[in-house]
């Protein structure tokens, strides 16, 4: 089974660095068939890369996304492959190639260009602090063991 764990985020924006932190710290422990990748680059590039690689059986995206939940809330869900309208996809492609790094852009763009496998999971945390700097907020810091465990569970068949 080939599994790709994608850390999405920006290294110097505190809680926003969650995805990259996860891939940085878990990659050395990766076992056969499990790959970790820093997806701090744009979704079109990721889509093009995926289309050139052997298929993955599962992709797991990890990142911090502000959706108005309780600070530090961890949400894990299976992606339903439902796309927004064409205009929004087009605008997200534009955002992507001009450097916008976001979990939603990444999923929408890579799905729109048919790069994702059927089995896609997302682990999100509600950020508290996305200002410039290093280190997580106390709320996100306290959820790291839970997020790490969720990632390992999703790398299993």
């Amino acid at each position: 089974m080939r599994v790709l764990v994608c850390g999405v985020g920006y290294r110097f924006l505190r809680d926003n660095a969650l995805g990259v932190y996860i891939t940085d710290t878990l990659a050395p422990q990766a076992s056969n068939g499990v790959e970790f990748e820093d997806l701090g680059y744009h979704p079109v590039g990721f889509t093009q890369n995926l289309n050139e690689r052997p298929d993955y059986d599962r992709i797991v995206f990890v990142g911090a996304v502000s959706r108005g939940r309780e600070p530090g809330t961890v949400t894990t869900y299976r992606y339903d492959h439902v796309l927004p309208g064409e205009k929004e996809i087009q605008e997200r492609v534009g955002d992507s190639v001009t450097g916008s790094i976001s979990l939603d852009n990444l999923i929408v763009v890579s799905e729109a260009f048919k790069a994702l496998p059927d089995d896609v999971w997302v682990i999100e945390v509600e950020p508290v602090d996305e200002t410039w700097g290093e280190g997580f907020s106390a709320e996100v810091e306290s959820r790291l063991p839970e997020i790490t465990e969720a990632v390992w569970i999703l790398t299993r068949p």
């Binding site: 093009q48 064409e86 205009k87 087009q90 605008e91 534009g94 955002d95 450097g99 976001s102 939603d104």
Partner: protein, 642 residues
């Protein structure tokens, strides 16, 4: 000589000095901005009584541009005119503050993060500023490696804009929606450039510009990948390279690397010719349909271009010699006023720059020119304004938006107190007017004085030389057309530099080294990186002491162009261009208005600011797309910057 408004005169030898006998030569009297229409109830009533089709239309944010840009307009839909404009950069970047107190070399990697497209050129401008301050000259191969990095970066940038950002405005879907009569005409109009692009009918070309499914759109995506692949062979990573350092490049190159880059660059030969032919056809078709399309986004041809791609033997990293090494660039520097090249001196280009904040969310750092300021002259003795980047301090002052007072996070940069635009087109324009005697020798690029001829070897398709001519009129279509020609121009420069790199490798020796060792100075130094981005003008001004940054100022293309009004009452380039834009869109009711002509005008500048659009209209109508994460930090449904 080149200045009309700044208090600078020149002696017989061309040396610049301040005009004598003026107490505060740079001081000025502020011209108040006009009262916004909506702040003037009497005028509002009068306008509505006369014409019920006056509407406030805000594009907030403008989509398909890089970054957070909002654009306010008041339009008269009956008379098809734009009555009022305000350009608003909605994000505070703040890199200048982040960089204070750091090792200057950190700026190379941190400032690169200022942009998700142009990260490489920020890193380069930063490295240039450092090496000027440190006094370190890179070896020829180090310069050539930079030239290759930045040419492949622009081969990423231009297809993005033409295919993915601006192109959709001319696609079947957009044209059918906004001007169905033009679409009908396109179905019966033969193209002129079918031999180069393969489309017999304009309608077929427009269909393939369709986002997500159109062949030209998808081809644009493919070419962005090809350029990135070439880039990372030297840069290690894109868009934030790991190998750009003061004194050259911190990697090695062998023939295999050059071959890999060459394999990719030559693919742009055919693509460049094809893209030029496509944008020729688009411009000429729309002009034929309605000559008023020449006025979309029109404004005076006032442009500023620091140039790029250094001669490996001329560049010495000194400010004293920057006029000489600047003129040896494959894209020479230039300031263009009313379409005429007024200087090719990098020192005069630099000395003429000021940034004003009367309408920006910053505090003034000097007392209208009559207080102490640090750098009265540049290192060559040319006078500098208190508002010059070497004298600027970044003092953020967030406050409520007021169209009359402060409304943008962009400053108002001016050259000789004029609003200037900049982009791939200012680059090719300056190169064209440099002329055959002054333009560097290149086997593939020839400057005639009013055009640029590009003649590259055959790739897969037959070789057809192309020529970009300075246009008779200036506006959105010409910006896009010039940018399209810049793909082949850039490919020619990459090809030329690849051959120089092969020769350097073959010869070996000190010239083939990638970088020059240096010691970090601990005394007070200043430097400037003058290297245009794919989208135009870029400078990084550095002041350092005791091994750390004292002041760092980044001036980008879109700071020039998205600028708010200046203290002299002049609008910024986007504002001016949209004010002059006729509304040629086909609408029967105000509710049908899409603003395509305004958007074509703004996007033609290739704004570098990514977010989403909420187009607010009076009466509560909002054309928007749902967003999940907006960099402006606003709530999804109530997002409004006003």
């Amino acid at each position: 000589m080149c200045f009309k408004n700044l208090p600078i005169e020149f002696d017989a030898q061309g040396n610049a000095s301040l005009k004598p006998g003026v107490a505060n030569p740079y001081s000025y009297t502020e011209t108040p901005a006009p009262t916004p229409i909506e702040d003037d109830p009497e005028r509002m009533r009068e306008l509505f009584a006369r014409n019920g089709a006056v509407r406030r239309v805000d594009f907030d944010p403008v989509t398909r541009v890089a970054g957070a840009l909002a654009f306010h307009t008041v339009v008269d839909l009956e008379n098809r005119q734009v009555m009022e404009t305000a350009s608003m950069a909605t994000l505070f970047r703040g890199y200048e503050i982040i960089l204070k107190g750091r090792d200057p070399r950190d700026a190379i990697f941190i400032s690169s993060r200022a942009c998700g497209v142009c990260g490489g050129v920020h890193a380069t401008a930063s490295a240039l500023a450092c090496e000027m301050a440190f006094g370190v000259k890179p070896p020829p191969m180090g310069v050539v490696a930079r030239n290759l990095l930045l040419s492949t970066e622009y081969l990423y940038d231009h297809p993005i804009h033409l295919s993915l950002l601006a192109g959709p405005d001319f696609s079947e879907a957009a044209v059918r929606e906004t001007n169905p009569e033009i679409w009908e005409r396109a179905r019966n109009t033969k193209t002129q450039g079918a031999a180069a692009h393969g489309y017999e009918l304009m309608s077929d070309l427009m269909t393939d510009l369709t986002p997500l499914t159109g062949k030209l759109y998808l081809e644009g995506l493919y070419y962005t990948r090809l350029a990135r692949e070439a880039y990372v062979l030297i840069g290690g990573k894109y868009p934030h390279p790991q190998t750009v350092v003061p004194g050259g490049v911190s990697t090695t190159i062998d023939a295999s690397d050059l071959n890999e880059i060459m394999l990719r660059v030559v693919k742009y030969f055919d693509y460049g010719r094809k893209t030029a032919a496509i944008w020729d056809d688009l411009a000429e078709f729309f002009y034929e349909v309605n000559p008023k399309y020449r006025d979309i986004g029109t404004r005076p041809a006032n442009m500023i271009e620091p140039g790029q791609w250094d001669d490996p033997y001329a560049y010495d990293a000194t400010y004293e010699n920057c006029d000489a090494w600047g003129r040896e660039r494959w894209a020479p520097p230039g300031v263009i006023v009313d379409g005429k090249l007024v200087t090719t001196s990098l020192q005069m280009l630099n000395a003429g720059v000021e940034e004003f904040v009367e309408h920006a969310f910053y505090d003034e750092w000097t007392g209208n020119g009559d207080e102490y300021y640090r750098h009265k002259t540049d290192p060559a003795g040319n006078p500098l304004s208190p508002w010059h980047p070497w004298n600027k301090e970044t003092i953020p002052k967030p406050q409520a938006t007021s169209w009359k007072d402060k409304y943008s996070w962009s400053t108002a940069p001016r050259w000789d107190r004029m609003a200037m635009e900049t982009g791939a087109y200012s680059r090719i324009w300056a190169a064209a007017q440099t002329g055959p005697d002054a333009f560097r020798d290149s086997p593939y690029i020839h400057s005639t004085g009013n055009s640029i001829q590009i003649n590259l070897p055959k790739a897969e398709l037959p070789n057809t030389p192309i020529e970009w001519k300075i246009p008779e009129t200036w506006g959105a279509f010409e910006r896009n057309r010039a940018r399209a020609y810049c793909i082949l121009y850039t490919a020619a420069i990459a090809y030329d530099n690849l051959q120089i790199a092969y020769n350097l490798l073959r010869k070996g020796g000190p010239d083939a080294r990638m970088s020059t060792p240096y010691e970090m100075p601990k005394d007070h130094r200043i430097g400037v990186g003058l290297w245009g981005a794919g989208r135009g003008y870029l400078t990084h001004h550095l002041e350092m002491d005791k091994g750390v940054i004292e002041n760092y100022q980044i001036l980008t293309p879109s700071t020039w162009m998205a600028s708010p009004k200046d203290p002299f009452g002049n609008p910024g380039p986007y504002e001016e261009a949209v004010l002059a834009t006729p509304l040629l869109e086909n609408y029967e009711k105000p509710e049908d208005f899409k603003g395509i002509d305004v958007l074509r005008a703004i996007r033609s500048f290739d704004p570098c600011m990514p977010c989403t659009t909420h187009m607010h209209m009076d009466g509560g109508r909002t054309v928007s797309r749902e967003i999940v994460s907006c960099a402006c930090g606003g709530d999804v449904e109530t997002h409004d910057h006003h």
